[in-house]
Subunit: 508 residues, 4 copies
């Protein structure tokens, strides 16, 4: 089925235990900051119900039922390109997709691993995985995936940890109907807005750690589960939030620390339990699918970044300067490199042999993701450099809303004629919101911008000394009067006359 937005919102009233900033959350849909998460997660139900986007997001399963395309396993390059298109569209829309992004990749990962285990060690996991896929399709559930353990001392394996043995999630009891699990998963995106979660291991485990080799699915309101929500970027909400934090107000962090305090999981939802030889398969499969998501979500982020840079340059009256254009070109190059590489990973995809699923090209998704991640801070610096110090000292909504001071702000923070002051301020708010807090901007603009410093460096350098060194080296006049280079001894006069002549009989 394809649920409506209303049905989805309704489903979240399920008794789940969530904390945010130390307070218990009464209803995730009405909490000032968590409700933002719900709002963009709900786009995953708005999009498939919209006539324009339905063809992209909705497909039929083998029973002829309308289901979310993301719940199907990719079999062709076209499937991967469509999956990517779903990701890009959702994120460009300002939500959507993020609800499912972890979950469907975890679903792909357990599909790979189940096929591999069944054919190698005669388990029956494929059946369970496919039954669970049907369950998701029929209920049109919001699904996240949980991978990262809290890890404790990173240099020790799970069973060798000193303080306690629960730094990696593990089975503490195997019962007739199911298992009992204990531990915690960290940085789990899309948790407050998901109905269920698929759990997978976060590393390769050896035989001695086989109690930690564990994959299963569970509703997030299961007994024993506590969700500790991450600190929001902004504690404001509503119009103030949209004005002051244009990115974060629509995209608050969704991560939770999920505590499993002896949670029961029935066997039909267990997809791996002790098969340590396959722990690497599940983590690699998850990673290879999930890097495609990573390589897609940034397309919209980088469009926005290049665009806000171009707008700030215009608003400041700087768009004609070569050094500004070089910086803008850098941002556009960054955006398109990531875009092209991500798409290429779907074109040059590779069939996974056990499951027959089509995987994105590992090399290309990883290059896309790495290129994005490794250059992000540099991109922030460039955007701040173009924007100027206003990227951090820009007034807030509360400043702007006070009629006593608004006229001063309106008058003095104007940029180029024809651009309303408020546009420039809102653009600066986005730069501030995207690129980090005060020290980042202050450190590059405080005591003079990078550009100002470069020109000071040029004017401060001792060019006479350098040029004397250069002229002496190429034996061109002009260095002889320099205090350092002019009076040096030289091999030509001090040594050469005393040398015997060259022997030219060698065959060099």
């Amino acid at each position: 089925m394809i649920r409506t937005v209303e049905q989805y919102l309704e489903s979240l009233d399920d008794g789940r235990v969530v904390y945010c900033l130390g307070e218990k959350v009464k209803d995730v849909r009405t909490h000032p900051t968590i409700s933002t998460i719900i709002r963009f997660a709900a786009m995953d139900y708005a999009l498939p119900n919209d006539p324009k986007y339905r063809p992209l997001f909705v497909t039929q399963n083998e029973d002829g039922e309308d289901v979310n395309f993301l719940f199907t396993a990719p079999r062709t390059s076209e499937d991967l390109l469509r999956r990517r298109e779903c990701f890009v569209t959702g994120i460009r829309s300002g939500g959507g997709i993020l609800l499912h992004c972890m979950g469907i990749d975890a679903l792909a990962a357990i599909t790979v691993a189940a096929n591999k285990m069944d054919s190698n060690v005669a388990t029956h996991y494929v059946e369970r995985v496919e039954a669970y896929r049907k369950h998701l399709q029929k209920g049109d559930l919001g699904i996240t995936g949980a991978m990262t353990d809290v890890k404790g001392d990173r240099s020790l394996r799970p069973s060798k940890q000193v303080q306690h043995k629960d730094f990696y999630l593990r089975v503490v009891d195997r019962q007739k109907d199911g298992i009992v699990v204990r531990g915690a998963k960290m940085h789990i995106s899309a948790t407050p807005c998901a109905n269920e979660a698929i759990i997978v291991p976060c590393r390769t485990h050896g035989e001695e750690d086989k109690d930690y080799v564990l994959s299963f699915a569970t509703p997030l309101n299961a007994k024993g589960i506590t969700l500790l929500g991450v600190e929001p970027v902004t504690r404001t909400h509503g119009e103030e939030a949209l004005w002051d934090y244009p990115r974060s107000a629509v995209l608050q962090p969704t991560e939770c620390l999920i505590i499993f305090d002896d949670v029961f999981v029935p066997w039909e939802r267990v997809f791996m339990c002790g098969e340590w030889q396959f722990s690497q398969d599940i983590t690699y499969a998850f990673a290879s699918f999930h890097r495609l998501f990573g390589a897609s979500k940034m397309v919209a982020e980088l469009d926005m970044m290049a665009g806000i840079a171009a707008l700030m340059a215009e608003y400041n009256g700087l768009e004609k300067y070569t050094h500004i254009r070089e910086k803008l070109a850098w941002l556009a190059t960054y955006a398109e490199t990531v875009n092209v590489l991500g798409r290429s990973s779907c074109i040059d995809c590779v069939k996974e042999p056990a499951s027959g699923m089509m995987q994105p090209n590992w090399m290309h998704t990883n290059i896309a993701k790495f290129t994005f991640a490794n250059n992000w801070h540099e991109a922030c610096k460039i955007l701040q450099d173009i924007s100027g110090g206003i990227a951090t000292t820009v007034p807030t909504f509360k400043d702007w809303s006070n009629p006593e001071i608004q006229p001063f702000i309106e008058k003095y923070l104007g940029g180029k004629a024809g651009v309303p002051t408020v546009n420039r301020i809102r653009a600066a708010r986005l730069v501030k919101d995207m690129t980090g807090s005060y020290p980042q901007v202050d450190h590059i603009h405080g005591e003079g911008s990078l550009a100002a410093q470069k020109m000071f460096l040029y004017f401060s350098a001792d060019w006479d000394k350098y040029k004397a060194a250069g002229m002496r080296a190429i034996r061109v006049d002009g260095w002889q009067d320099h205090p350092i280079y002019g009076s040096l001894l030289s091999p030509e006069t001090a040594v050469v006359p005393k040398m015997p002549p060259i022997d030219t009989s060698y065959k060099l």
Copy 2:
């Protein structure tokens, strides 16, 4: 005189008009976030009154009076090294110095310009500047400096601006006793905590813009002055702030947008008014002194950054790994390069001819400042990379303070045995506070860390293809069976047999 902390605090109750987040501030000393600024500014009075630091901070003026060393003009390399030592000590202490940092450099700048003007165009500014210096010394006043205009369209000069003519501060009336000024200065540090401000121009002006060539001093509670305070990094205060924002809680942004709405300045406080030929002198002198401050304040910041990186590595159990050590070495190299260059600017200082003051070496201060600024974002990336995703998903004071969830946090967020969980959390809070908000960290750690991606890239690459290309190039067997490189045509077989023999008669 040397004022006490109490005297300084008392002096701020002077009727100044300050706004913060849209609200009028009743008393800067009791406002939740601005009081933080006052607190570290007051260190400028605590230090000279402390027996250990008095010899560094206190000197005698020509009248034999005890005065703050920073109010004297540097005459020797030792003076500059002492000035730098004041800066570094103050900032390492967690405050101090920042109150005076802009003001004393503006004082140096007007000293240079006054000498230059007096000897070139027979003005009498030196007298006024020295009288003002005495005023500062006797009152032991907190003094800021205001340089940056709001600028409007950056491609247009002041008098050519379209929307209005006040985008650069200007004289609107010349009266018998003084002048009336209008405009605004932006990003002015240390404003809420200063008693007075010295205003200097922010760029070289030509003759047509001579109304904008303007330097003067004024108390900050003068009629017509409104201070619009910048958004604080955190709106929390007290213990919560210290826990959640260890850096910002002691070092909130101090910048104000200062509005001059027809403010009167008596002639004895005017230090430049229309002498456009000297506008460059004042801006260059300010810049060259102030970059020394810039090159000093970062010493403490980078000590702290390298240190928190080393602590996070230990807390995570990672300090033995080569790639972590390479990153730590990078941070230490960064810290010491900046440190050495800043000090060197005092050793290789240059006498300013008009005033006889000793200026820091322009090249060295600028390299120090630029090296710091240009690498800051990379340093943040490295620190986040070492710290892991916890650099953004770390719990808050409010989370920690709730006894229902503290045990979960205590248990699961532990690192290496022997390190209290709370230490690791507080370290992560500092990383978060220093290095920027959520997107920075999420973008490098989301979907797998940089290190994980590098290893994926290594394992995903088509080494057979690359090595076949290499072996074919060096004519070493092993490439012949490669599908691409094995079957290529080669000049040796396809062309060489058809070529005539080499003519060896040339003298190459």
Copy 3:
């Protein structure tokens, strides 16, 4: 027609005037270094005559004649992908393509410009261009393209040059049957091996420079043309060259400075003469086609670079170390990024409206080329870093060939057991040949390698100081005994007790 290798070689005996290292070249086919250029150029005739590659390189023109595919105008994305495949195959083979690379892109550029001029200013250039294309197809001629002028003072336009007016190629006489041209074109690749050249302007010219707006074709043995060949990378030849310079011996620089000393060109070979409004079209069209070539040739170069790096790592016994793997991953990432972007420029191609030709995507070819060019020096550093000092101190063929010292070299320059010493030496010769001369390698390895220095930096840093700064900042014990950080004044004790309490009535 499709010429044979023999026919091509024969055609070069045409009386052309070529100099190399100051000597007049008697026959380009037998000169020790220039013959190398001829050898790899001849691959352009070997490939189309080889059954395996004929389908790629040979097509039929509208007269049904077999012609080289590169002489046709691309009309579809598939044509561009095939063009790219020709480029990549030729260069991977170790020659081929380079003979035509400039010429066919100049042919594309004049096709665009001719169509534009004819439809805008009623010239009849299209006819001439198409007649010339037929001439090339029928003669299967080797064709280069000449763009870059010598330029003189870069800040002056052609007609404003001071020393003489010939810094840009120009028409000095317009006659009944043709024109007379004077000037020089510089850095022109593939000149000694080409039969003819197409000349295009190198920049946008205004009306006052219309004598410099000039495009035409000419045989390279025309009266008045002198070719000054560039210095070869190596002056050795034959087996010695292949051993010592594995890359350069098959790919010597082909550039010439072409002197046009009053050369006559008949009107039917003139494709632009004074139409200054279109000078930009021809330069842009050339650039956009030629960057595709640029983005293709490097695919083979980077395969080889990544491969030789992997081989050196193995030969040295280093392939298991993480820091070596990170470097190898960097090289593979670099190679594939360039590869994917180049291909994408053919997929996302754009129709040029005047001529109907399909152009590669400007953004993508330019990103590919820029990414390659901008990272090349870094790649060389990484390759040298992996290889070690042997990348410059490696013995030569002459060393190896002396039986008195070969046993020493054989014994002492061995690497990992199982790898013949000679393989390791030949690999190091390629690294030396590709990555630059002695200073490059010496500067990174002299006085200790980069890796050694990083570890020294780690061990030399004052971690106690840094960690004390970190611990003090997060208020965790351990800093109190540090000589610097332990005894600082602190706002908490020195100021806070003197501050009034916080006013909590603000709405932050």
Copy 4:
């Protein structure tokens, strides 16, 4: 004593066995390329005999004898600054110092180790080391130091090597009068021009490798020693070499592979033999002294690099452009950073406790050296970028010397008026010589320079798309008509109306 240049030259006629390019060298003083090395080594005797430089280079030993200052052990910061001044002066002069650079640091290293061993394990090495120091002072000998072993498989320790046991130099016989050693040392600078060599181990060895723990001194003409000289950068000599290779012709590579084929060393010249616990001390001490040399030699190199860049910019008429000035500023910043850090290592020096010698600050020398080495390739790119394609296609001396073609070169390769063409050519020759061979330059300039590509990137980017993304994010009109961003679904309309209202009772 202080020898004359003539005495030094005479001393090299000592029967040593040297090979270069496979030929046995009859006399190092007359060989076309090796004589260059002798020439600049002889500066080490010219400088102390020159009245201007004698005070710097000559001091008195405890016997009151005039000796080379470099043969004394540094005891103070001033000694280190003077040592550095010797280095910088010698290299700026174009020779000098390089003869001693390795040897005196090896002498320092054995001084440290001897003191440590004698006081810990009651050996008597100090006596031998000091006797050897006297021998050097009295004979005023040219002395090199040999550290790097050939190493074989880098992942195996010396005694575990598979092919043979001589990959690290070792004792093969301990006799009554001395020891017999076998092995080879690689990349040993200043060998053909030195009289003697001090050998030290290149790594820390454990007890099982104690036969490899070996330090001694030996004349280079000892029986059993064969020197295999490295390939010269240029095989030209005399005026041609100075013209074509302005740097290499005065600074050819000096490295040799030194073969020790069962060489006898008397006990009084053995400074370590099996004391494996001290192998780390000797390598660390050598490294810390030798990095100071590394940090000094580059001062002259970088002066020259910044200078030739400034000259090329002028010769090309480009010195006024901002992007050129930014690049020049980068080069000057690089030069001064390395300079300041090197000097600082002498100011912040550290007393070595065993020997009482003053060591340069490890952190600062290592930062200086690392900064130099790690940025060298980038600097070469920048220099090539400023210079243009002529950095590789520049004519040679042989071209210039042919009167038939010189007029063409003279005319067409001119730059800015007033600059002789030959100056520009010689400058380009230096750039080519310093920055690497053909591929380096061709890859950045081929198919368009970096600057040209940046502007193409700017003009090719889809700014409409990016700006639409930016405007939509900041809720400013202008994006609504964009084909992608204009028609997206939005949470505000698609979701928000269906959400329950915010609960404002939380304490955020």
